[in-house]
């Protein structure tokens, strides 16, 4: 029976004291610093679940508890969405020679496979630029990798897991997103893996708060656009998300969920819309014949939406002053396409651009109404729709600022779509 080397680790290292990246505070930090083991593993290890370790505990005890409650490698967090599977993988870099020796071959091979490649199969991609290096997680130091592949390639992924005998590692695979439910039986039958299913919104919030808290050097995790209404001076600026609450969190995946977050554990889903990233790509595929998000975005960047949309000035010749509507505002998305001549004169690029603008502005508009109804001034946009999509981010920044007369601030996070997966990983390391 194969086992994970770290279960045999006896020599404690004061890993806790040497994090390269410190969380801002323990309170905000949902990782393993709040060592309150009460998962089944620790219970079976003979520890009383009621034994609470406070910050006054000695380091020795702490290291012990961390070590004992630490799950075996490999550490994965997975988020199976409607369009993409997001996978985060923690690669330990502090492996001792002894560990190295004891590490089973399967584990080694997975680690090598994931860290030595940046693309997997035809569609799997590791977002190298997002990698978090020298991260201390649960007493171990290493790199956090961010990998994604289309949900429709999940069978291939499972096949690979089977080939690499993933199940022999006896790891718990923490998964969130709808696919954790939908594909649970496939994981079992195809790869002999048991999923630990987690709520996607819980994971999302946990992930956002964690990633924001560990990023202290390098590019800031959170950023905004300065002068959003002035295209010439609109620049990306870092933002420190201190005292983040209350916060409106808008997750734009295939669809959109809007959450009002009052604390890590106190949040509600305000509403959602089915007009999301999936709609953008779906419509673009139908309208332009493209087949990938990147392709659709590329087209959009070259198009002109004003040929497709009917603007206020197209109807009123200028501003509609009676109602304070500027002439450049879109009066009717795709409104010009009611006319046959105009349908024949637009390019695919124009159509892609109009689709992007329509979906983005609609999300902006619903978000703004939610912010007003919930009386929240800060909005954080996440989700893979925003990946390499500066166009949409700037549009959102503009819309928030313009229509609220500067009251609302649009914030963005570098790890856009990975927070659910990070949340799932955190759940593995420290069950809430």
């Amino acid at each position: 029976m194969a086992f994970n080397g770290h279960q045999r680790e006896d020599e404690g290292i004061d890993e806790d004291e040497t994090p390269t990246k410190q969380p801002r505070s323990e309170k905000e930090m949902p990782g393993c610093f709040k060592t309150e083991p009460h998962n089944e593993a620790s219970a079976s290890a003979g520890r009383s679940t009621s034994e609470r370790r406070t910050s006054n505990s000695t380091m020795r005890h702490r290291a012990d508890s961390v070590k004992k409650t630490r799950p075996p490698f490999p550490w994965f967090g997975m988020d199976i969405g409607g369009t993409l599977v997001k996978l985060v993988y923690f690669e330990p870099k502090d492996i001792t020679a002894e560990e190295e020796q004891e590490e089973v071959e399967n584990l080694k091979s997975i680690r090598r496979y994931l860290t030595s490649n940046t693309a997997y199969g035809k569609t799997g991609i590791r977002d190298v630029h997002l990698e978090l290096q020298d991260l201390t997680l649960c007493g171990r130091t290493g790199n956090l990798h961010f990998i994604r592949f289309p949900t429709h390639d999940l069978p291939a992924f499972l096949q690979m897991g089977r080939n690499k005998h993933f199940s022999s590692l006896h790891t718990t695979l923490c998964a969130t997103g709808g696919g954790a439910y939908k594909f649970e039986s496939d994981f079992r039958t195809m790869a002999d893996l048991q999923l630990h299913k987690l709520d996607e919104l819980d994971c999302l919030i946990r992930g956002v708060l964690y990633i924001d808290s560990v990023m202290s050097s390098g590019p800031s995790e959170c950023y905004y656009f300065e002068n959003p209404t002035d295209p010439d001076h609109c620049v990306q600026k870092p933002y420190t998300l201190e005292n983040p609450y209350p916060l409106l969190l808008v997750n734009i995946g295939s669809g959109v969920s809007i959450l009002a977050v009052y604390s890590e554990s106190n949040y509600k889903r305000v509403t959602g819309t089915s007009l999301g990233g999936g709609t953008f790509l779906g419509l673009c595929c139908l309208l332009t014949g493209c087949s990938t998000f990147e392709e659709a975005l590329e087209m959009a960047s070259q198009g002109e939406s004003t040929r497709v949309d009917k603007l206020v000035r197209d109807i009123y010749g200028g501003d509609y002053e009676r109602f304070g509507l500027p002439g450049w505002a879109v009066a009717s998305s795709f409104g010009n396409m009611m006319s046959k001549e105009k349908r024949e004169s637009v390019s695919k690029e124009d159509l892609a651009r109009a689709t992007l603008v329509t979906i983005t502005n609609n999300i902006g508009s619903i978000t703004r109404m939610c912010a007003l109804n919930e009386n929240i001034e800060r909005v954080v946009f996440v989700g893979n729709f925003l990946r390499v999509n500066t166009l949409s981010m700037k549009l959102l920044a503009y819309a928030m600022d313009y229509w609220s007369k500067g009251q609302l601030k649009a914030l963005f996070l570098r790890h856009e779509g990975y927070f659910g997966a990070v949340g799932a990983l955190l759940e593995l390391l420290h069950p809430s």
Partner: protein
């Protein structure tokens, strides 16, 4: 331009000779024309013979004359833009008497057709702001047209559930879905604000739909959508989760991502499925935004309009679904019967501001209006051949302003009609049959009422055709004029009779009845006075009820009266003798306690009913020290006594009866008109003067008499003071429904909760 069409002038652009104040609203595909005209029509007048000529005249009680009267009417006509040139030509040719110099114009197409209109009509086009017109029009229909707003329920017995007119229509939210969406908050007649909107609207459905399906027309796109399956294009919650997302209460069938499946699959999608998915996407999005705005501004009345909605059950359904979903049923999506006319109405009102049309009340003319869905091909297979795509709305200016009876317990929940035939299919069938059966008799009566006019028979025939057509329409579209009720069927008949200049087919009968009954008056009063107090109370009630048998509107009675002209009061009393009382209270309750301050009495028929039944009862009230307000119809309806007739009758009675004379002289007996010309009674639309008198006199008792006023309507009406509803059921089907026999009696005395059961002068109506 289609010049080949021939317009049926008498049916569409009516009364053009006197037309003035034109307004036009030109939309993307439909034009709405509005104008004001005066209609000359015959009205029946009664007049006492001059003292001097009395001897010379016949032995008749009063003089009946038919006079020409001029009333104001608003015409609204909707037609396809293709006909605009033909229509303008037609108007030019028929416009004679107008001093009009300008035409108010609104709508997106007003600009495009400006030159054409100015050239054709020689009128200067004066553009009005679209949104302002829309709101003005909306306020106007909400205030003046009962059952204007409705809730749409696709799978219910009746798809259209009409709302009762609210005493205060403000505040409300109007979501106008044109090519884009405007969301307007309306707080008062002049105060409104565009609080938001969206660029995803009808133009998005149309434009994007045309791109996706290569289908050009909006209607065709909707047709496609109604046949499609969105689940093959949309990514549902269950496509992601395999089932529902339980912890959030999101069911598996919810759309997680619109068009989400068209991004991953390499397959072809059907036009129908894509159109359906698009329809859901847009409807849900608009519904969601509307809800967010309604919540932010704390508004619960949300009306939807614009070409996306207009007459399309498909979009009304998807919007309703969306609103229900996003507000969990707390807000209802409301639609308007005359939504397509709002802009034209508003533009017209802008032009007519100097006449201050809002100071009047207006009423929908059922004879001249097409009704809901008249031009919707899928709703009306038996399309009228001649006026196919023309839809009309006509509104008559009422002579007086109509308001709520101040004594209604809850004006906002008051529903006049006892039975909603839109929802009750069995009852609908029965009553439509009844009215159809009675048509011959009405035609005969109409002809007989105008013996000196040779063309009366021809007009009566036209009336027959028109009314029969209305009945046929209502059989297929019972929702055409709002909730179908016995009252609306009766009113429609009156409107059609007026249309063909039969203002008062029963004038002669009424005259005769009144004449005969007057002869018995003194005898009747004398015999009542001889009775003991207790006996007299019973006799008075019996008298009112027996009098109420004399109703030409009821077939069971008119047959008897027709065959036995000698049928009299005593026989009627005997008829009631053995009958069961369906709803009764000891009349002593009513007249035992301290006298009421003032009684308001809504009267019914002429002749025996009013003279031998009602007046003696009134006399008793007066003797007890109770003031009496007699409310009778302003205009004729069947053999109901009109205010004009009642004036003469009371004068004649006063001459014989000192009690009545004193009552009139001391102003303790007052005659007022109800403001209505219907055999039924809508307590939310009464003459303003009546409401004022009721308030001034601190009315604490309301008596409603007759089948039309107390059973077909107001049977369940709740008043804030004591009330008495009295009627004889002269229809066996209805008697059966209410659990009795023909000529059963309803005597319903009600005291509002929390009030002492006897009249009290201290009651102050609010």
């Amino acid at each position: 331009m289609d010049k080949s069409i021939t317009l049926p002038p008498d049916e569409i652009f009516r009364n053009l000779e006197n037309a003035k104040r034109f307004a036009i609203d030109i939309g993307g595909s439909l034009t709405k024309l509005a104008y004001y005209s005066t209609v000359q029509h015959k009205v029946a007048k009664v007049r006492s013979f001059d003292k001097a000529t009395k001897e010379a005249a016949s032995d008749k009680l009063y003089e009946i004359s038919v006079q020409e009267e001029v009333t104001a009417r608003l015409h609204f006509i909707k037609f396809e833009n293709a006909y605009i040139e033909t229509c303008l030509d037609f108007i030019k040719d028929h416009l004679v008497n107008t001093e009009t110099k300008v035409i108010k114009a609104t709508g997106g197409g007003a600009h495009k057709f400006k030159e054409l209109i100015e050239r054709k009509l020689g009128l200067k086009v004066d553009k009005e702001d679209e949104m302002t017109c829309l709101i003005k029009g909306c306020n106007f229909v909400l205030r003046n047209i009962p059952h204007e707003a409705f809730v749409y329920a696709k799978h219910a017995d009746s798809e259209f559930r009409f709302q009762t007119t609210q005493p205060d229509i403000f505040p409300y939210l109007l979501v106008n879905i044109g090519s884009g969406v405007s969301i307007v908050k309306v707080e008062s007649e002049d105060k409104f604000e565009r609080i938001g909107g969206s660029s995803i609207g009808g133009g998005t459905f149309w434009g994007l739909g045309a791109l996706l399906t290569k289908t050009k027309r909006f209607d065709e796109l909707l047709q496609l959508a109604s046949k499609g399956q969105h689940t093959s294009v949309d990514m549902l919650v269950k496509d992601i989760y395999g089932g529902s997302y339980g912890s959030l209460g999101l069911t598996g069938d919810l759309i997680a991502s619109s068009f989400g499946k068209s991004a991953t699959a390499d397959k072809e999608f059907s036009k129908e499925d894509m159109a359906k998915s698009l329809l859901h996407m847009i409807s849900n999005d608009i519904g969601q935004l509307a809800c967010l705005y309604a919540k932010l501004h704390n508004l619960s009345r949300v009306y939807f309009g614009g070409f996306f909605i207009r007459g399309h059950p498909v979009t009304m359904h998807t919007i309703t679904y969306s609103i229900n979903f996003f507000t969990k049923g707390e807000v209802q999506a409301l639609f308007l019967r005359h939504e397509g006319y709002l802009g034209a109405i508003g533009a017209f009102l802008k032009g007519a501001e100097e006449d201050n049309p809002n100071q009047y009340s207006w009423g929908e003319n059922y004879a001249g209006s097409s009704g809901l869905m008249s031009v919707s091909p899928d709703m009306n297979p038996m399309q009228r051949a001649r006026s196919g795509t023309f839809d009309m709305l006509e509104m008559d200016r009422l002579e007086r302003q109509l308001v709520n009876l101040p004594l209604l317990q809850d004006p906002s929940s008051y529903i006049p009609d006892t039975m909603d035939l839109t929802e009750d299919a069995l009852a609908r069938e029965y009553w439509l049959y009844c009215f159809e059966e009675a048509l011959d008799g009405v035609v005969k009566r109409a002809v007989a009422s105008q013996p000196d006019m040779p063309e009366a028979a021809e007009r009566a025939e036209k009336f027959r055709q028109k009314y029969r057509h209305k009945l046929q329409t209502l059989r297929h579209q019972p929702f055409a004029y709002g909730s179908l009720t016995v009252r609306s069927l009766l009113d429609t008949r009156e409107h059609c009779l007026n249309e063909f200049n039969f203002p008062d087919p029963y004038s002669k009968i009424k005259q005769n009845e009144n004449d005969i009954a007057l002869k018995y008056y003194q005898k009747a009063v004398k015999s009542l006075e001889e009775l003991s107090w207790e006996e007299r109370q019973f006799a008075l009630v019996r008298g009112v009820l027996a009098g109420n048998v004399f109703d030409w509107g009821a077939k069971a009675v008119s047959d008897v009266l027709e065959s036995d002209p000698e049928f009299g009061f005593e026989q009627a009393k005997r008829q009631l003798e053995g009958s069961k009382c369906l709803k009764t209270t000891h009349p002593g309750f009513l007249l035992q306690g301290p006298p009421h301050k003032c009684a308001l009495f809504f009267v019914d028929n002429s002749g025996v009913d009013i003279i031998l039944g009602v007046i003696p009862f009134v006399r008793e009230l007066l003797s007890r020290g109770t003031e009496v307000v007699l409310a009778s119809n302003s205009g004729p309806a069947l053999n109901d006594v009109t205010n004009g007739e009642l004036q003469i009758l009371t004068e004649r009675i006063a001459a014989m009866d000192p009690v009545i004379q004193a009552g009139l002289r001391e102003d303790r007996l007052t005659l007022v008109q109800s403001g209505s010309s219907s055999p039924c009674l809508d307590l939310s639309r009464l003459d303003k003067v009546l409401a004022q008198v009721v308030r001034e006199r601190q009315t604490d008792l309301v008596i409603i008499e007759g089948m039309g006023r107390a059973i077909h309507t107001n049977y369940y009406a709740m008043l804030s003071c004591e009330s008495l509803k009295m009627a004889v059921i002269k229809n066996s089907w209805l008697a059966d429904r209410l659990g009795g026999k023909l000529f059963s009696v309803v005597f319903k005395y009600e005291v509002p909760a929390g009030k002492p059961s006897q009249g009290s002068a201290a009651v102050t109506p609010s």
